[in-house]
């Protein structure tokens, strides 16, 4: 049944995670950063589901389900923070937010 070897899924998830991490450190738009984080979450989800399938364990699927739920909540809060932070600002740029440092 497992026509596709498991390590393919793992590699794919790792690449997606990697792209997500890159997105967080190279982009300056907080929205895109948040999307990159969603990418990371989804990479993990893919991994969960692939492993769940491999182990025939639905706790992995439920974990993925919960991650989706939490990601939704996090997106809500994160977007609220971005809105409150950047509405008074000229640019939507995280480099502009640096009163706290040192």
């Amino acid at each position: 049944m497992m026509a596709v070897p498991l390590d393919h899924y793992v590699a794919l998830a790792a690449v997606m995670f990697f792209i997500g991490v890159i997105g967080v450190i190279v982009r300056r738009n907080p929205l895109v950063m948040l999307m990159s984080i969603e990418l990371m979450f989804n990479a993990a989800n893919l991994l969960f589901i692939a492993f769940a399938r491999a182990w025939v364990q639905n706790s992995g699927q439920i974990f993925a389900f919960l991650v989706i739920t939490v990601a939704a909540a996090e997106a809500a809060i994160g977007l609220a923070i971005i809105v409150t932070t950047f509405r008074p600002q000229k640019y939507v740029d995280v480099d502009d937010v640096r009163t706290l440092h040192g």
Binding site: I25, V94, H101
Partner: protein, 643 residues
């Protein structure tokens, strides 16, 4: 055998009183000085006199030889095993006690007049009384530590009295010098104590002397050599003599008592007291004898080049103590002690006489500004004359007998070189003493003081009393060789040792040495006369003295560079080190890192802060950096597990 107040069987109940009375005087004068006023002086004089009386009463107890123990004992306190303190009064300490209390009383009495009107009258007598107590501690102690305590305390008393007029910078400096050099001596003695204690586990004289024969020669020499440092510092022996001439900054009675009669002879006492040690170490004897001889000569030579009347006397003291040290060093204990005994009288007389002059001339001390004083103060002249005759060893004055014993002792104990030195020194002594006498009393008066202080009876009486012993005591006690009272008095103490070390009779007989020495004395006298007392010399005194001052050999004016050498080697180098350590090493090297702690804190903080740029991307980068480091680690750590 009955027990009575004067003590028999090795005790003397009044010993404590004899010892502590002067301390009481010191404490009372120190605490209630201003209230006592002139009474302070009388009180001290009375207490010292009482001590003297008690000392005289102790004769029987001190000289008895009960149960193999000579003299009287008094136990005081025991600190710990081996550290037993007590007092011991035997013939040796008795002689010193006599001089300390007897001459001391006379000088204290004299001071009543001399210090009249001084702002710190009571303080002076407190110090004097304290000195007497300290000196008694020194000579009455039956152990090395007690001796050292006395040794240190007399140094302190001497320090106080040299610096008595402490508004004078020169007096302050002299006091400091005296004190520090004396501490050098204390340190030497301490080392000797360590050596002895490590060997015999006791500080008592008795234990140490009883074991003297069991000491290894090198150890014994070490003990004696370090004790010699103590003796040299206290008795102004070369090269630790430089403090003594400076010490003349103190009041003249102080010079008479401390820096002539008593304290400076402590070295003599020490060597005599430790005779059992020295007797077992010929090298040590030679060392001490040589130190004494060289000091005698150097003191005499330097005495010829001085102009300050007290400094001449100081160098004379140094020279005479050199004699004594030499004598006790080579083993002629009786001779050395006899010179101490007679010297105490005539040197005190010289100082007190000089004090009369100085007092009369409003503290003028330079002999170049004296002259012709025999007309103004004949009493002083006669006093000085008899004392000079005594010190130069003119028979039948007391100095003759004692000096004779000393000089002959050198031969007797096999040290011809020392004999030659001491004979030569006798001639030089004669020269500078008569030089002093001639310059001060003959010729015309060269100074400006017309009406000085007239000495009161309190000053004249003690001086007059001193004339008697300095003239006669030598003949009375010391003539007659082995059967003289002096020799018999010390026979129990030193007889055995003297017999043991006595060599074959020397080539020159005792009478012959007397003749040789006397001839040298005459030569010295003649030179002095020729230079200072001929009619021309007296007439041209002022220009001739100026010329002599100008042409004085540089070595002599610089006192053989001993002061300069000590200053350079010890004082300057210590100060240099201190400055280097305290102003360079401490703040800039040892403290370097902590000194600028605020700077380093800011710098270190800045390093960490530089990572906190406030940029969220930078933070994310650092975070991911950490994460990848983790993962790299885990990858490598699991490398071996791969299939």
């Amino acid at each position: 055998m009955t027990h009575h107040l004067l003590g028999v069987g090795g005790t003397y109940p009044l010993l404590l009183a004899l010892w502590l009375l002067p301390l009481a005087g010191a404490v009372v004068c120190w605490a209630f000085g201003p209230q006592l006023g002139r009474l302070a002086g009388w009180l001290v004089a009375g207490l010292v006199a009482a001590s003297f009386v008690l000392a005289a009463l102790s004769w029987g107890a001190a000289t008895q030889n009960a149960a193999g123990m000579l003299g009287a004992n008094q136990r005081l306190v025991a600190w710990m095993p081996g550290f037993d303190f007590g007092l011991l009064l035997d013939p040796l300490s008795l002689i010193w006690t006599f001089i300390i209390t007897g001459v001391g009383f006379l000088i204290v009495f004299y001071s009543l007049g001399y210090m009249e009107g001084d702002g710190a009258f009571a303080r002076f007598f407190a110090y004097m009384s304290f000195f007497v107590f300290a000196m008694l501690t020194l000579v009455l102690s039956d152990n090395f530590v007690g001796l050292l305590v006395g040794w240190g305390l007399v140094g302190l008393a001497s320090y106080f009295l040299i610096g008595f007029w402490f508004e004078r910078p020169s007096a302050v400096a002299a006091a400091r010098k005296a004190f520090v050099i004396n501490v050098v001596g204390d340190a030497g003695m301490m080392f000797a104590i360590f050596l002895i204690f490590a060997k015999v586990h006791s500080i008592g004289f008795g234990d140490a002397f009883a074991a003297a024969g069991t000491f290894a020669p090198a150890l014994l020499f070490g003990v004696c050599a370090t004790l010699t440092i103590g003796a040299a510092a206290k008795s102004a022996q070369v090269p630790l003599h430089t403090w003594l001439p400076d010490a003349m900054e103190g009041p003249t009675p102080v010079s008479a008592l401390i820096h002539a009669a008593t304290m400076v002879t402590a070295g003599v006492y020490l060597v005599a007291r430790c005779a059992p040690l020295w007797n077992h170490s010929p090298q040590a004897q030679l060392l001490v004898g040589a130190v004494g001889g060289v000091t005698a000569l150097i003191g005499a030579v330097l005495g010829t080049a001085q102009w300050d009347i007290k400094r001449i006397l100081a160098y004379s003291t140094m020279s005479q103590i050199g004699y004594m040290i030499m004598a006790v060093g080579v083993g002629a204990y009786e001779g050395g002690i006899s010179l101490f005994f007679t010297h105490a009288f005539f040197k005190a007389q010289l100082f007190l006489g000089a004090g009369l002059v100085i007092h009369a001339l409003n503290n003028e001390q330079d002999v170049r500004r004296m002259g012709g004083l025999w007309k103004r103060m004949p009493f002083a002249f006669w006093v000085m004359l008899t004392a000079v005759l005594a010190i130069t060893g003119v028979p039948p004055f007391s100095g003759f007998f004692s000096k004779d014993e000393v000089i002959y002792g050198d031969l007797q104990f096999g040290h011809p070189a020392l004999f030659a030195i001491s004979a030569l020194t006798a001639g030089i002594t004669s020269y500078y003493m008569f030089r002093l006498l001639f310059l001060a009393f003959l010729g015309e008066y060269r100074g400006e003081v017309e009406h000085g202080h007239a000495p009161g009876w309190t000053m004249n009486v003690p001086v007059a009393i001193l004339v008697a012993p300095s003239v006669a005591i030598g003949g009375a006690l010391m003539s007659g060789g082995e059967s003289a009272p002096w020799a018999r008095f010390f026979a129990p103490q030193f007889g055995a040792e003297m017999a043991a070390v006595a060599h074959r009779p020397p080539a020159i007989s005792e009478g012959m040495t007397s003749v040789i020495v006397f001839a040298l004395v005459i030569i010295g006298f003649i030179i002095a006369w020729w230079r200072y007392a001929t009619t021309e010399a007296k007439r041209d005194a002022v220009p001739r003295l100026a010329g002599e001052t100008a042409h004085m050999p540089v070595v002599l004016t610089n006192l053989f560079y001993v002061d300069a050498a000590i200053d350079l080697v010890f004082v300057r180098s210590a100060q240099f080190l201190g400055n280097f350590f305290g102003r360079m090493l401490d703040p800039h090297v040892l403290d370097g890192a902590v000194r600028d702690v605020a700077f380093w804190a800011r710098w270190l903080g800045a390093v960490v802060r530089s990572f906190q740029t406030g940029l969220v991307r930078a933070y994310a980068l650092i975070l991911v950096f950490g994460a990848t480091s983790f993962i790299v680690y885990y990858t490598f750590a699991t490398y071996g597990m791969r299939h």
